[in-house]
């Protein structure tokens, strides 16, 4: 179990008021709106939300991977330095070096015409002082580490020769080549089958321990969060609506959206009963409702929620929520 947010520690990554606005033909779209969170050393933070919640854009924004026409503002402090304000050369050292990223679809993230060996060695050459022979040895080591059988032979294969799960392992091996201190994972197991997902999640946790990495894990799957993350932040319509430790949030959600999400997932023991679903659909980022963005779908909404947007406020140690009615929601307890 890694460290939870204790005030004494300094965060490895500190995101402050991150805002990403896309310029579209229909006007500006605020995909990420004043998002702030900290990631402690060795911690796994889950960024949870449905489609259009801004979770993936958040992850890309903090690596400076958003292209124009879009503006990214706010601060992303990586070990004290602001990634968004870094000169290109320093950014290259951080990106793909101290901070590595893995994606949902490895087939599009890997270069299809280069052998796996070349792609790992490329990253090693960029971020280490190893010579050619050492690089090859390290590449074998890495493939072995991520659980690819016959690593030495598979080094000479191309990405398409690997299965989906193995490709994800290859991508993780490439990411690890630079000895990252922070791994950004964008739905890395969503395209995988459940037994393979299980293998990859366990692998990421093992590597977190071995490399003493922090991990930011973007996912829509609450089961994945429950099984792998230490803390979580729930996003809705571009904003964080609730954050805290996974255990606390699952036991007692304070935001009606979090509560609704938890109730939407069937659990054993209550077969063929109605699920406590949320009415309506997640809003398009182009037309976010006034006031609290969740109010049209919220069973707890009162007049106040339509007029004013609740701020994300601290309600306990490392526990934040953006809801006027959080006390009533919490009193209702976790959905069964």
């Amino acid at each position: 179990m890694s460290a939870l947010a204790t005030p004494a520690e300094t965060p490895a990554l500190s995101v402050q008021s991150l805002t990403t606005v896309f310029q579209t033909p229909k006007g500006p779209v605020r995909a990420v709106d004043a998002v702030s969170f900290d990631v402690m050393p060795g911690e796994v933070l889950g960024l949870v939300g449905e489609s259009g919640s801004g979770k993936s854009v958040t992850l890309r924004s903090l690596m400076g991977l958003i292209h124009a026409p879009a503006q990214v503002s706010g601060r992303v402090l990586w070990q004290g330095a602001d990634i968004l304000a870094m000169p290109k050369k320093a950014l290259r050292r951080v990106r793909g070096g101290e901070v590595a990223m893995i994606f949902q679809e490895p087939m599009t993230a890997l270069n299809p015409v280069l052998k796996v060996r070349v792609q790992i060695e490329e990253n090693l050459a960029a971020h280490s002082q190893l010579d050619a022979r050492q690089r090859r040895a390290r590449a074998i080591e890495l493939l072995d580490l991520v659980g690819i059988p016959a690593a030495e032979r598979r080094l000479e294969d191309y990405p398409h020769q690997f299965s989906g799960g193995m490709r994800q392992r290859v991508m993780i091996a490439i990411a690890l080549a630079s000895n990252p201190k922070l791994l950004l994972a964008d739905e890395p197991t969503t395209a995988l089958d459940v037994t393979i997902q299980d293998q990859i999640l366990k692998l990421i946790l093992d590597l977190r321990d071995e490399f003493a990495m922090s991990v930011v894990f973007v996912t829509h799957d609450l089961g994945v969060v429950a099984g792998t993350c230490d803390r979580m932040a729930v996003m809705y319509a571009g904003r964080i609506v609730e954050s805290g430790t996974v255990a606390e949030i699952f036991a007692r959600p304070h935001h009606p959206y979090t509560r609704g999400l938890l109730g939407s997932v069937p659990r054993g023991g209550a077969e063929r009963t109605m699920l406590t679903s949320i009415e309506g659909t997640p809003p398009s980022l182009a037309v976010i409702p006034q006031g609290c963005a969740f109010h049209p779908r919220c069973a707890y909404a009162v007049e106040h929620c339509v007029a004013k947007r609740p701020a994300l406020e601290r309600i306990g140690l490392g526990r934040m929520v953006a809801c006027f009615r959080e006390a009533e929601v919490a009193a209702a307890g976790a959905p069964v």
Binding site: A31, S51, G52, S284, L285
Partner: protein, 285 residues
């Protein structure tokens, strides 16, 4: 993240919009509308009878009386260009509509059936596209004899293949989508699935190509007219007119140049309209 992706890059021409419609559609549409009006009632606009010969002004340069000048028989070039709209627009429509209908039907059936039908169709396509179209048409007209009707037959024999190829490719894509399976699972007949469900989703490229094809047909028609294989003199037809002027290019350029401009403007009208149509269909989706 579908909602926030940047829109796909589009050609600069299609970005201009007038009243929500692509500007290309409007400009092309206006040109075609004007062409159509001239084709239907040329005598309202032509200052002279296109066949009337005036031996007092032979090979007269453009003037107020004859804005486009006169030809070697003293006929008014402007009037002949205007009257030629009737034949050339007729060529555009007649030469391409048959192939469009046949091609769309054959293409839809072949695309849906696949297998042997598709292999046979593929060989036909290979055979047709391995010859330059003009050469093939000339060969057929040479066998059948010159004239407009034979030209329509010659074009029709070849041209349907291009429509069929477009439609069959598109139907092949559409038939793999779940809504086609949904129709099959519902017990709908293949004919209903092909023509009610797949074709409306597959026909757009064929319609857009139809516009280009009409421009090509005018070009082909006037080429044959020029060679004496299409419309026959003394009919007013742009190709025939250009041929009329070919011996006087150095001294009386206007006989050939104005019909040439008419071909370019009409062709551009079709092409712009087709572009605009493609853009419109895409935004509708």
């Amino acid at each position: 993240m579908r909602a926030i992706e940047a829109p796909p890059q589009r050609s600069w021409r299609s970005r201009f919009k007038v009243a929500g419609l692509p500007a290309t559609l409007i400009v092309g549409g206006l040109v075609l509308f004007a062409s159509l009006v001239l084709a239907v009632v040329p005598s309202l606009f032509a200052p002279y009878d296109p066949a009337a010969m005036d031996y007092n002004s032979i090979l007269a340069a453009p003037s107020l009386a004859h804005p486009f000048g006169t030809d070697s028989f003293g006929r008014d070039v402007l009037s002949r260009v205007i009257h030629a709209y009737t034949i050339d627009m007729q060529i555009a429509v007649f030469a391409t509509t048959g192939p469009l209908i046949v091609g769309v039907i054959v293409g839809a059936l072949v695309g849906y059936a696949g297998g042997l039908a598709e292999s046979i169709f593929g060989r036909i396509v290979d055979a047709v596209i391995s010859f330059p179209q003009l050469v093939l048409v000339i060969a057929i007209v040479a066998v059948l004899g010159p004239g407009l009707t034979n030209m329509y037959i010659a074009v029709g024999v070849i041209d349907w293949v291009f429509f069929a190829r477009l439609v069959s490719g598109e139907v092949k894509v559409q038939k793999r989508l779940d809504y086609a399976d949904a129709g099959r699972a519902m017990g709908y007949t293949p004919m209903r699935i092909i023509f009610r469900h797949l074709l409306p989703n597959a026909i757009t490229p064929a319609i857009v190509y139809w516009m280009t094809d009409m421009a090509l047909a005018i070009l082909l028609g006037s080429s044959l007219g020029y060679l004496g294989l299409g419309a026959q003199p003394p009919a007013a037809e742009w190709g025939v007119q250009i041929a009329d002027g070919k011996n006087f290019m150095a001294t009386a350029w206007w006989i050939s140049v104005f019909p040439g401009i008419a071909i370019v403007v009409t062709g551009l009208g079709f092409s712009l309209f087709g572009d605009g149509l493609a853009e419109l269909m895409r935004t509708k989706k």
